[in-house]
Amino acid sequence: MTFRNTTRSWGALSKALHWLIVLLIINQWIIAERAEALTGFAKLKVLGYHKSFGMTILMLAIIRLVWRWMNPVPDLHAETKPWERMLAKISHVLLYGLIFAMPITGWLMSSAKTYSVSWFNLFAFPNLVGKNDGVYQLTHDLHHLLFAALVVVAALHIAGALKHHFIDRNDVLKRMLPFGGVK
């Protein structure tokens, strides 16, 4: 496994970023569900972690996108049908869009509610907007809606990967697995 991507497989950094973001998103969902039931100090603390992890995802997403531009993207196999290519393209664009949109809507809703975002209490991010109930309500609803969209697109993404592996029997899934070796 190389550090950089090749036209055949994903490199170590791309794989690490992919799976790290997957784990962080699952963690975000668990934390957010817990926070819903809390109030006062406990809620402040749990949401503080949620925001810190969210900003981590945003920073990783930026690195990931830059790295993607700097590297070749592994090709789909020649036998992949045009509709499959189209569906893969759309879902990838949506997934990239969502890993940016989720933290940004979160950052906006925190700013609009005057609960500034910090990174594990070490430093604060600037507020994107001032106190604004309308913006808060809108971004709050969007944050939830976009998560539902993320679940749907991620399910499609997983279904696609499994189809490549079990039906088409190619290495599309294996080449993204942490230790899946494709030369």
Partner: protein
């Protein structure tokens, strides 16, 4: 609003008592023929000021989860007796309705008003009473006591004094530690999520009272 007027009345009462005490203290001096001429001009030089109906602000800020949060008290009353040439004879009193605060968010307001934090139900007023002013390295300071959340502690409050058309404006910034006053019980005792330091920023428009 009722509370506000009650506070104003209280301030007025305190001021009246203070004035009465002052004149009582002066009268024995007035008996002495030599001391009298000196004491009278000094007393006359103390000017009485009360907070103007508008133009004042008492803001506070604290760090929550690494970021600064702002709030303000909307109801407070100030009385100042000021003699530029005799700071020791000057005094400052501020009464704050603790329940009048706003931090721009209902959830945070509700939390801050709870029994583990500011608890205005049990401690409806906070008072700062300085019986003298002094000139320190950073300018004029009111040297007094802050009574907050049932705890009284000494506090020096720096004052920048500016003359205005109707009287004067005093402003400045002081920092207190919320845990010194027991603001933060239970989980809130930790300073990891909400900092101990609370910065107070004040600007008070005062009207000169002619007596």
């Amino acid at each position: 609003m009722t509370n506000y007027f009650a506070a104003l009345a209280a301030v007025a009462a305190v001021a009246a008592l203070g004035a009465a005490a002052c004149s009582a203290a002066e009268s024995p001096a007035a008996v002495k023929p030599v001391a009298a001429p000196a004491a009278k001009p000094a007393a006359a030089a103390v000017t009485h000021y009360v907070q103007a109906p508008s133009g004042s602000k008492l803001a506070f800020s604290f760090v929550q989860a690494g970021a600064e949060n702002q709030g303000e008290f909307r109801q407070f009353a100030t009385v100042l007796d000021y003699d530029e040439k005799n700071l020791a004879a000057s005094s400052l009193q501020v009464i704050v309705q603790t329940g009048s605060f706003d931090t721009q968010d209902k959830d945070r307001n509700d939390t801050l008003a709870g029994p583990e934090l500011l608890d205005p139900k049990q401690f409806p007023t906070a008072r700062f009473i300085a019986t003298s002013l002094s000139r320190g390295a950073k300018g004029i300071e009111a040297v007094g006591k802050l009574m907050l959340h049932g705890v009284t502690k000494g506090l020096r409050v720096p004052l920048t004094i500016k003359t205005t058309a109707v009287g004067m404006e005093i402003s400045g910034e002081a920092t207190i530690r919320r845990l010194d006053y027991g603001v933060g019980q239970g989980d809130w005792k930790t300073t990891e999520w909400v900092g101990d330091e609370v910065k107070l920023q004040y600007k008070v428009a005062l009207t000169k009272v002619v007596r």
